[in-house]
Symmetry: C2
């Protein structure tokens, strides 16, 4: 079965495998692109992680994740910016296509979503020069509105692209079907993202009905309600032909053997994506 | 404590009380406005429900709910339209300020959200003449995007107002903080709703962090992250000064004595709304 154009976000198998085992398993299944998470990279050591990825011939479609800018005070915001600069350094060392940014939700104890959004814009502006210097594109990932309070206060592609417009070169978006499939403005915003060269990543993951948990009940493609082929057609019409990256947070799939998860990703990628 | 301008959606105490007991309890707490659900009204009988509401001096801020237009086939869609016409009749008999519409999600087995949205627009157009004839305003309630698949494929105030623009007179929106608080376009759309006279209801309910269940873990005002005073200021600046209606789906609050729930609604209405 076709594996070209398929990438695996290593969160999908994070309970089964550490970075080395996950990368070797992907290679064994004929998958040539992965997106590791920082905790996985740091547990392995960034130099060693880079070597494992290179030795296995892996394209690194991204590093997950930077962001989380809002904080209760100036010291917290400065620490977040420092942390993002380190993430950019690691993304450069891994030769990642981009650093994926989950921008953060409300500051602790705050009800001011406008304030959080302002902190995000400031945090992004603060890290863009370093990202440009390191040649690491920053991919803002709009998250589903159900994460607005605690994970990301950028919840639509329109909002993410407005930020890109403000920030200029070196910034784009990671478009995850799971987060944006519901948006009535999606076709127009995908077109806009493509026209301005902002699409840096395309993640796939299905919306289950019912969804039993806000964070960890995401679905394998085909098990939910998203029309992946129609979605991908919009992405390609907008000029993006990069990998489709499977990123599934799921207590269900984390409980299965990693090889079964990868085989299923490949099957479904062929069947419905 | 002030109860003027406070309404109770009877879903908030649906596990504790039927319609009569809930209405009498509200009256006992000095609350003068309620919004019953159709199953409650039908269990009591619509004539008897109207009498109970009138005898207790209750304003009826709405009837919940019509909608649910998408269906697998033409017969199903026609049945939904018939059902909505009956809901309009009942809303008229109860002298409700509006019929609240939860428009429905994807048709069973379908992944076509555009198709669902078209069915919603068609269904609405089919019932508007009867609603006008009965002088029952239709209040389209945009639901949080996490309900797009299974409850309502109208998920932003902008989308609801676009439908109002298409449909003309006799149609407006029910704005529930819980569903729209996250929307970066909210201030502009509330202003638009007010300028076109479309605000028919204002519901209040808090977003909890963490939210443990997609449907039944909504919060009492003050227990979550929504800034109700800032929200209400936008609503009033847009020209709406009608009741704030507490609608909380919560396994937690449903497990407490109804009088405690109503007392808490009154306290929080005074403290944070």
């Amino acid at each position: 079965m076709r594996t070209e154009g398929l990438a695996i976000n290593l969160a999908t198998v994070r309970k089964q495998w550490g970075l080395r085992a996950a990368v070797e398993a992907c290679a064994r299944h004929g998958i040539r692109a992965v997106d590791p998470w920082r905790d996985q990279v740091e547990a392995t050591g960034v130099g060693e992680a880079a070597r494992i990825l290179r030795d296995n011939g892996m394209r690194v479609t991204g590093l997950c994740r930077g962001g989380m800018f809002p904080a209760a005070d100036a010291d917290g915001r400065a620490a977040a910016i420092d942390d993002n600069r380190r993430a950019i350094d690691h993304a450069a060392e891994l030769k990642a296509d981009c650093l994926v940014l989950v921008v953060g939700g409300l500051a602790p104890g705050s009800r001011a979503i406008d304030g959080a959004r302002a902190m995000v814009a400031e945090g992004l502006a603060a890290i863009v020069p370093h990202a440009r210097a390191c040649k690491v594109p920053l991919a803002i990932e709009p998250l589903h509105p159900m994460y607005a309070a605690d994970r990301a206060c950028v919840n639509t592609l329109a909002h993410a692209l407005d930020l890109c417009d403000l920030l200029g070169d070196g910034v784009g978006v990671a478009i995850d079907c799971y987060h944006v499939w519901w948006d009535p403005d999606l076709p127009r915003q995908i077109e806009r993202a493509g026209a301005t060269g902002r699409i840096l990543a395309h993640h796939i993951c299905d919306w289950l009905v019912p969804t039993r948990d806000l964070l960890n009940d995401r679905g394998m493609m085909g098990d939910g309600v998203i029309d992946f082929r129609a979605f991908r057609a919009m992405i390609e019409a907008a000029g993006y032909h990069g990998p489709q990256e499977v990123e599934i947070f799921s207590a269900d799939w984390w409980a299965r053997p990693g090889d079964e998860v990868l085989s299923t990703c490949i099957e479904r990628y062929n069947a419905v994506c």
